[in-house]
């Protein structure tokens, strides 16, 4: 699959690129200010122009860093996660890109006490800190594109912190919402091909689902977030973790 990865020079972007490179033909991109000087990264400011259109030509799916990319001012964070995401989705939809995987964060649910069985059906509770608010707004942009159809959007809320290694490494971290890099790779690969309507309750009528939020943390004992939707849609970790 030919994948476009955004914010590719950020720490998270480089990690994700390393995880996906084995199985996919990766096109790396970042804003000009970050990509300049890196020959492997296509510089694009994700504006409302032909450069964004060219960026998505021939792309099968986009993996978008919706949280945890570059550090920036509040204005720049809001700009990247609203306007740039909007421009990218608009270009992708027009070009017929089939799928968009937004990498968001479970920190949007961090305000809920740990004893609660928080799932995707709980309302996000973002704060006003720009890194969190901008992730929430990025999801908002994705949701409205998903509502209209034309591109399938998997919104993965990632656990925290990201732990290098496998599930056992996440379990040994002592963090109840940890996500291992191996599990992140597994989840993204599954989200690229999953039937987003797989858990639909409407069994009789056609139910084209084009937007789904899925909580993704490592399936560790006493994990903080339930993983039932990851099991039903992504086919991962059935019966494991907190579920």
């Amino acid at each position: 699959m030919r994948l476009l990865l955004t914010s590719a020079t950020s720490d998270l972007g480089r990690s994700v690129a390393g995880l996906l490179a084995q199985h996919h033909d990766l096109v790396l991109t970042d804003l000009a200010g970050h990509a300049d000087g890196d020959a492997d990264v296509m510089a694009c400011d994700l504006g409302d122009d032909e450069s964004t259109d060219r960026l998505v030509e021939g792309i099968d799916a986009i993996v978008h860093i919706g949280h945890g990319g570059h550090f920036a001012s509040a204005s720049d964070l809001l700009d990247v996660h609203t306007r740039c995401t909007y421009n990218l989705l608009m270009a992708a939809r027009s070009a017929g890109v089939g799928r968009f995987v937004n990498l968001s964060t479970l920190r949007l649910m961090d305000d809920y006490p740990e004893n609660l069985t928080v799932t995707e059906n709980w309302r996000p509770a973002p704060g006003v800190e720009p890194v969190i608010l901008s992730a929430h707004l990025c999801e908002y942009v994705c949701r409205e594109f998903g509502r209209e159809g034309g591109i399938k959007i998997a919104n993965l809320r990632l656990g925290f912190p990201l732990i290098d290694g496998d599930t056992a490494a996440a379990a040994n971290s002592g963090e109840s919402a940890a996500l291992s890099s191996d599990d992140l790779a597994t989840a993204i690969n599954a989200a690229l091909i999953a039937d987003l309507g797989a858990d639909s309750q409407s069994t009789d009528a056609p139910h084209p689902v084009s937007f789904r939020t899925i909580h993704v943390q490592s399936p560790i004992p006493n994990g903080r977030f339930l993983l039932k939707r990851a099991a039903s849609i992504l086919g991962l970790w059935e019966g494991q973790g907190a579920a």
């Binding site: 204005s75 700009d79 909007y86 704060g127 409205e144």
Partner: protein, 252 residues
């Protein structure tokens, strides 16, 4: 009350100034040139955090009338980030009352408007991806999130088609007389002066009478379509439309 008005030079600005000018001390701001007014004036850019924070000093309330429709980059800067700047300004100066405005479809986009009736202001927003609605809805969501973390009361008034009853048909965008009988435009219409009066009602409503820190109102005159519901604006704000714009929907 000391009131900061953002986007005061727009089409709605003069009507809001007319409704409030004799009752409050106004600080009018806009990115454009100074209008002919007797109130305090500042030229600012709402997409500049420093501009908005500076302009809000000493104010008791902020009214946001700023809007940018067609240009994609500036629409996000004004309609989305402008709201962030406004809320940071409110937090910075301890301003409790914020009044935001926008088009009805920042809430009731095609997902509602093409399907349903009795659309009301307490529905979850479904703006869709049309630029104007989408960017204003993002701004609205920023405002709402701020009210969950700070002691700020947000009142959002949603408008759409505005008319001068004395010259019915001279609607926004130079629609002129051809807009008469255009049913797609009618179910959400109001006279300019009634819109200004609704904002005055919102400004002067005691904060203690608001059921929550984020209330939204659909503000249009009484019309028989039943597509939208304006009862909350009437009941909660105590607002009464003076003009019913019958020529838009009554053939006789």
């Amino acid at each position: 009350m000391n009131i900061l008005i953002l986007g005061g030079n727009g089409m709605l600005g003069p009507w809001v100034i007319d409704a409030l000018g004799d009752r409050h001390r106004l600080r009018i701001t806009d990115i454009g040139e100074s209008p002919v007014i007797t109130h305090e004036w500042r030229q600012i850019d709402v997409s500049s955090l420093d501009d908005v924070v500076d302009a809000a000093e000493g104010m008791d309330a902020i009214i946001n009338l700023s809007v940018l429709r067609p240009h994609r980059k500036i629409a996000f800067e004004v309609n989305t980030r402008g709201n962030y700047n406004m809320m940071v300004a409110a937090v910075t100066h301890g301003i409790q009352r914020v009044i935001n405005t926008g088009p009805h479809f920042q809430m009731a986009g095609p997902g509602y408007e093409d399907w349903d009736f009795d659309l009301n202001p307490d529905m979850p927003p479904q703006p869709g991806t049309r630029l104007y609605a989408h960017t204003k809805a993002l701004g609205q969501e920023i405002d709402r999130v701020f009210t969950t973390k700070h002691d700020i009361y947000l009142q959002t008034l949603l408008f759409y088609h505005l008319y001068d009853p004395a010259d019915l048909g001279s609607g926004p965008g130079g629609s002129g007389m051809e807009s008469l009988g255009n049913d797609m435009m009618t179910p959400y219409s109001i006279a300019w002066s009634d819109a200004g009066e609704a904002i005055r009602c919102a400004v002067e409503l005691p904060l203690g009478r608001l059921p929550s820190r984020a209330e939204t109102y659909m503000v249009f005159t009484d019309i028989p379509h039943g597509m939208f519901n304006n009862s909350k604006a009437r009941k909660q704000l105590g607002w009464q439309p003076r003009y019913h714009l019958e020529r838009l929907w009554n053939k006789s």
